[in-house]
């Protein structure tokens, strides 16, 4: 019995939220309160399922665990094949964790079609978990694309005034990126005769093939991360999306790009990655520095955090692609491990912090219905509890030691020193730029005298909001002070990934 449970744990994690979402849809807007509670319970149940997942996970090995494997499309040798390793496990937990505050935060705020809103997020959750645990690339693509549908509707139905433009841009941008990946996947399938990711990873490919496949993957993942210069959909989507949409977009969806680079690009095309790593590093550094300056110039709070997300995700791509230079310089993999560890920690940390910041902005927006920085000022005088959280998350976003934001950035900067001094120099500017735009935002919004009458009427956090922000703050602190469990979880898988990328896949002869 126990074995049976363990076998279908991942499937439950994927299909419980999707099934719950469909049921929520059936409950309907006429029984909104029932729908809300039901959706919340489903999301909590999903989160609780992560406990046995984490406990049953063996940290010492890079082998995929909780494997579920059965034929899906026999003719294509595509399988319903799920599994987790140290790279996907933290992201799955993050997905389940972030959905709960998103639902709670929407409790009274979303008045238009509430049941559909809650259902959309549950379905989205299941699909996102599916992306992270799919071991078959066709199944991966299936979830990856299906995910666009609920997000498209979330931004389009519950978004701001320019929601149609934003959501179409989001959908078409991502779709365009993904279809080229599909061509690459089919190409790999025709060579390998199966769709399994592991099979693709061990498939020998010439350098020319690798280059094209690498570029096709890069387009798909770079759009999702997003990397400069294909990032322009993100500020639009973030600004127009409802709070929950922004949170999930920043916290989880962007991570899929990073995850794709680690799971597809690096191990499937290691030689092309080595050859073209300069490209990714250059784009990452542009994101860190240039987008940092762009963030500084924003007058819209959500847009500012959106640009900050692009800059922070630059660290993820930087950390992932530093490995080749480090190994060439030092001849060992220990420095490269730091870079990949940093990339992973940064993904989790950014998920928590950016999610929390969007929730903070949501709290203010619910009261004043403005996202303009200039509409606020002196919020601390009327909302002291809220101000404490906002300051805390602001500091975490600028990488204050003791918060999770510090760990990831520090590891990546440390690794970049071993690769090239100038990489480190440019990457380190984020410590200044990130602090500048975040703290300047906090200063203008939170501190100073009360700006106007409307701000004076703002009420402090209610219990629901306090709970949501409190839990997130605790998580940010926990990873900041004690990152060991997170790092240990991914240790073996990261080392295995490094082994994969050091071995050339070019066929001999």
């Amino acid at each position: 019995m126990l074995k049976l449970n363990a076998l279908s744990l991942l499937s439950t994690l994927v299909w419980l939220p999707i099934g719950g979402g469909l049921l929520t849809l059936l409950i309907g807007d006429s029984r909104a309160q029932v729908a809300r509670w039901f959706a919340l319970l489903v999301s909590i149940a999903t989160l609780l399922l992560c406990v046995p997942l984490y406990q049953g996970f063996d940290h010492s090995t890079a082998v995929f665990q909780f494997i579920e494997r059965m034929p899906w499309i026999r003719q294509l040798h595509a399988e319903y094949y799920l599994g987790v390793d140290g790279i996907s496990l933290p992201l799955i937990v993050l997905t389940a964790f972030m959905t709960v505050p998103v639902l709670i935060a929407a409790w009274t705020v979303i008045e238009k079609r509430p049941a559909q809103y809650f259902a959309a997020f549950l379905i989205l959750e299941g699909l996102m978990i599916g992306v992270f645990c799919a071991m078959d690339s066709l199944l991966f693509y299936f979830f990856w694309e299906a995910m666009l549908i609920p997000m498209f509707l979330i931004i389009g139905i519950w978004g701001g005034p320019r929601r149609v433009y934003a959501t179409l841009k989001f959908f078409l941008y991502t779709f365009l990126g993904s279809v080229l990946m599909l061509v690459a996947l089919i190409y790999l399938y025709l060579k390998a005769g199966e769709y399994s990711i592991a099979g693709f990873q061990s498939l020998p490919l010439t350098l020319v093939e690798q280059r094209w496949i690498f570029l096709a993957f890069l387009v798909a993942f770079a759009v999702k991360v997003p990397m400069w210069p294909v990032h322009t959909w993100l500020p639009d989507a973030h600004v127009e999306a409802p709070t929950g949409g922004s949170v999930i977009l920043a916290a989880i969806m962007l991570k899929m790009g990073g995850y794709g680079l680690l799971r597809f690009s690096l191990p499937m095309t290691p030689d092309a990655s080595r050859e073209l790593d300069w490209l990714v590093i250059a784009l990452s550094l542009i994101a860190v520095v240039y987008i940092g300056f762009v963030a500084l110039a924003q007058t819209d709070m959500k847009k500012l955090i959106a640009y900050s997300s692009i800059a922070h995700m630059g660290f993820v791509t930087l950390g992932a692609f530093l490995a080749f230079d480090i190994m060439a310089n030092t001849g060992s993999t220990s420095g490269a491990v730091n870079g990949l560890d940093g990339a992973m920690v940064q993904m989790i940390s950014h998920g928590l912090i950016s999610g929390a910041l969007f929730l903070c902005i949501g709290v203010m927006y619910d009261r004043l219905h403005s996202r303009e920085i200039s509409a606020y000022g002196g919020v601390i005088n009327v909302m002291p509890k809220f101000a404490a959280f906002m300051v805390f998350f602001g500091l975490a976003n600028s990488g204050l030691p003791g918060t999770s934001g510090f760990v990831g950035e520090f590891l990546v900067i440390l690794a970049s020193f071993k690769a090239n001094f100038w990489y480190a120099f440019l990457a380190a500017t984020t410590l200044i730029l990130g602090a500048a735009y975040t703290l300047w935002l906090v200063k203008r919004v939170i501190f100073g005298p009360v700006a106007n009458d409307q701000v004076a009427k703002m009420s402090d956090l209610n219990g629901r909001e306090f709970l949501v922000l409190g839990v997130l703050a605790a998580a940010v602190l926990l990873i900041g002070i004690w990152p060991a469990p997170l790092v240990q979880t991914m240790e073996a898988s990261v080392r295995h990934l490094l082994e994969q990328i050091t071995v050339s896949k070019i066929p001999v002869g």
């Binding site: 499309i73 003719q75 549908i149 389009g156 365009l176 080229l180 061509v183 089919i186």
Partner: protein, 486 residues
Amino acid sequence: MINPALNESTLTLASLAPAITEIALATGICAVLMFDVFAGRTWRYLTHGLTLVVLAICAWLTLSVGAVATRTVLFDGLYVADKLGVFLKLAALMATALCLFYSQHYLDRRRIHGGEYDILAMTALLGISVLISANNLLTVYLGVELLSLSLYALVAFDRDSGIAAEAAIKYFVLGAIASGALLYGMSMLYGLTGTLSLDKLALVSASHGAGFVIAVAFIVVAVAFKFGAVPFHMWVPDVYHGAPSSVALLIATAPKLASFALVMRLLVYGLGADPVLWVQMLTALAVLSLLLGNILAIAQTNIRRMLAYSAIANVGFILLGFVTADTAGYRAALSYTLVYVLTTLGSFGVLLLAARSDGEADELDDFKGLGTRDPLLALLMLGLMLSTAGVPPLVGFWAKLWIIQALLHTHHLGLAILAVLVSVIGAYYYLRVIWYMYFDAGREQTPIPRQAGTRLALGLNTLAVLALGLLPNVLLSLCERLIGAP
């Protein structure tokens, strides 16, 4: 002249069994026609139900009596029955029955329902069946004409509508030219090879010089016209827009199966000895259809015109399957055609249900706010549009995937990339329907009729689109069984 090998079976009643679909359908048409003539006003409303019964009996007979295990040739080689044919006929029967079922209330509300409507639909279906089973150039022509003439009349069915009459004339004139091209190509083939039989044409090897190429070109033109591929697509938007929606539905679905059969029988089988002859022509047609169909669809504000251009673009995809000149490609083309027909049935069904009593509801604006006005209908349309756009988990995604896979398998990388890129363009206008339904508030407040039966059928139709998307192996193994390895 006549090959003794093909003539060995003498004509007995039992040997007619493989042709039972056409025999039953022709008998049914006569019966319904007689009933409609003598029923008078009081009983005429039964014609429609009787038609559905006839179609059901035909389907049952096709399955029980007409099913063949191997390729069987009848009537001195004029007629062929095989698994593919039996299945395509069943699909055409079901599609037509569903069309008529969806159309009933629409026709009643627009007060253009008459017994002729059902009868013309059945004669069109008979044409489709003949075409599917054609094994001789003359049978092909017979099927094409029977189908086309029925459709011309149907387009003009709303005889008080100027726009319908215009569409019918346009369709008729252009269709007549295409038929002329078909006949001309056929006569040239006959002159060059001395045979009309597809079996014998299939044995004629390549290298016939310019005359043969020209003959094939004329035939491809006719095929492209029937499919509605660029540059022979001019009739498509006008007919989809001008004809009553229910007729547009009929034209958009079952005849596509016939067009698929036409290519399979005429080009792939009959002229299959040297595919290079038609592959290049089909490539050009496919590329033009994909580009022009998708780009022009963006500019449309009328959903029926949009679906017309979408049909052109989808035909481009189907043709891409043939361009591979490979079994996998033909299978992909078949699955794409089936998926397209299934999805189009649903989306036009929604359009029919939403139509007002004083006219159509086919402007994009009419769909504004449908998400709140009629959540169920909007949800169905959402699924159907996403499927046509090729987004998983809906079956449209797999249809596109198999085409692309077949293209890559035969080293058509450029065409594969073109196909995925135009899909992105296509996604825009399908998403626009969703945007109007869900993101915009509507001013139209007229409630949409309940019609529980139609809704149930539409729901099942859309559910099939989703279920096949989750378990696509069903569709794939079906296509594998129907189109065997060469």
